[in-house]
């Protein structure tokens, strides 16, 4: 099957490679007479390119394909890792809990300057970030900020954001932030057999479990929102996607809606009790369990833009402390055959 992302249009001003839409309105794209031909394969690891000699082949054609800037597929992430190491951050939450808003708000902070003592150093997914950020911009023609939702059809994708501490470009961290539809996480909660398909969970250096503050602020939705986070953590632990090496952060989003609620104090007390119960029940099964609050995009401007994101990215760019050494029970030999093995001198003991 042909991957459309590799196909280009002969019409000079058609932006199909970026927008996915034919400039002349042809649907499907294959029906457009100008559509067709292959773009130069997207380049990834620079050193790999030089080794496999594809550079010369690329140079032979007039149109030289350039990196698409789209979100990375798992295969592209594998290629990326051949170039340099990365810190994986997996953000897990139901639909509308604020996963993409969190990532876009972080990107938006760097568009405005250094943030949390860090500066922007590069991104292979600028086009993807811009597309997602579009509905929060004045140029979108909207009057309230919104974030484009992730479709479950898109599968697993990653945004790339490289940052470096101010004045220390050599200490750069390449963050790969996963992006997957909330519907998929919901399905995995309902059916634990799907957990093993969530490749981004065991791979992650940090897991962010989003608690939807908008639902918490609503008395009708509150308990359901709390329970969904608790159940998600449990299903991931019970099905071995998380364990003693996992760093989990429960991130309560949309704090502006909680702050604006007339029941603010009651909600805060409920949240404190919830955090305590989570710690008691799950912390010993993880490397660490911590709690964060953010108001990534407050439309009423009661909070500073990106409230709470500074602490999160500071954590994400700080190497995790060494894992607790795993201890294994001593091997007890019960059968005579096992004991024979212990009595037999090996080459190294001879």
């Amino acid at each position: 099957m042909t991957d459309d992302s590799d196909t280009v249009c002969k019409k000079a001003d058609c932006q199909v490679t970026v927008t996915g839409s034919c400039a002349e309105g042809h649907t499907p794209l294959a029906s457009c007479p100008n559509y067709g031909g292959r773009a130069i394969e997207q380049h990834d690891g620079y050193d790999d390119e030089l080794e496999d000699g594809e550079t010369g082949a690329s140079a032979a054609v007039e149109r030289i394909g350039l990196p698409a800037g789209d979100a990375l597929t798992p295969e592209e992430v594998d290629q990326f890792l051949r170039w340099r190491e990365a810190t994986f951050v997996t953000v897990v939450g139901d639909s509308h809990s604020g996963k993409t808003t969190l990532i876009c708000s972080l990107y938006d902070r760097f568009l405005k300057g250094n943030f949390a003592g860090l500066g922007f150093a590069g991104s292979r997914t600028l086009i993807a970030l811009e597309r997602r950020a579009h509905h929060s911009r004045v140029d979108s023609g909207r009057d309230t900020p919104e974030t484009a939702r992730t479709s479950h059809l898109e599968g697993l994708r990653y945004f790339h954001l490289a940052v470096a501490p101010s004045g220390q470009p050599e200490s750069r961290t390449d963050l790969l932030l996963s992006d997957r539809s909330g519907e998929v996480y919901r399905s995995a909660r309902d059916n634990s057999s799907l957990v093993e398909t969530l490749l981004e969970i065991p791979q992650a250096d940090r897991i962010g479990l989003l608690l939807d503050g908008g639902r918490v602020a609503n008395p009708v939705e509150r308990n359901g929102a709390l329970q969904s986070v608790r159940q998600t953590l449990r299903v991931l632990l019970d099905n071995s996607a998380l364990g003693l090496i996992s760093v989990v952060q429960v991130i309560t989003t949309k704090m502006d809606l909680i702050a604006a609620s007339p029941q603010k104090r009651e909600i805060e007390a409920t949240l404190d009790a919830f955090y305590d119960r989570m710690s008691v029940d799950f912390a010993r099964r993880l490397k660490s369990l911590s709690f964060y609050s953010i108001a990534a995009r407050d439309p009423t401007s009661g909070f500073a833009p990106g409230h709470g994101l500074d602490k999160l990215i500071e954590n994400w760019t700080t190497p995790s402390s060494p894992s607790i050494p795993l201890t294994y029970p001593p091997i007890v030999s019960h059968s005579e055959f096992d004991r024979l093995l212990l009595r037999t001198p090996t080459e190294t003991t001879r």
Partner: protein, 280 residues
Amino acid sequence: MNEQYHSILGLPRSGKTTFLAALWHLIDAGEVASKLVLDQLVGDHVYLNSIVDAWRRCEEVPRTSMAAETKVTIHVHAPDTGRKIALGFPDLSGESFEKQFAMRFCTQDYVDGFSGRGGIVLFVNADRPSDGMTLTDIGPPEFDAEERGDPASEKEWTADLVPEQVRLVDLLQFLLRPPFLRRQRRLVVVVSAWDVVISPKPTPAEWLERELPFLYQFLVNNPASFIFRVYGVSAQGGSVIGDQRSVLLSQTPSRRIECVGPGADPHDLTAPILWLTGGD
């Protein structure tokens, strides 16, 4: 002879062609002292002479169209050292760069332009509209939730809505991967229309950090790929529209030029070029 081709980057109306016109007049006319002067008048200068005519008349220098893209070569020498240099500039239209960003391809000529030892001149215009503003930046909406605006006014995402600084970062990021040769390059950011920056003026580097912070951070955090300097340049000396034009016309042409930045004399556009060519 040391021959270096420098690459020029910049979106439409960023001041690329006007800079080239002013530079050509400066080194040809000898009206003010400059770090580089014209060495010999050889080759085809039709294009340079056509754009410099408009510049001398204090008219807007015609923008380079994609059809008119050309590569110019200027032979200069440095009076201090006697060193001879052939400066090559591809005068690419801003639309070429817009298209490169939107369509995600470039030409072999463009790739070849970065294969030599030359540096990069990146143009941004101080007289620019703000872009990339978020709805949160402009404060809460002044209406009830029921009084939403007209959905018909909402726009789908297109590449031309991407903020200028993001596009420039992506154009520079292309150079870090194949088929471009990976090496450390000298890069000069020219902030054109420097005359419109309100006093007290920041240094050009401070202006870049304040106005295009994403681009500034990218350059600062990629020292293995770019060592950069920032210059403020007013190639025309002011607005060529209205009463100010007659004031500009009354001046010695080279004295209209303003150049601010490391090692630059007030009217000398060649300081950034000399640094790109390997000067200190």
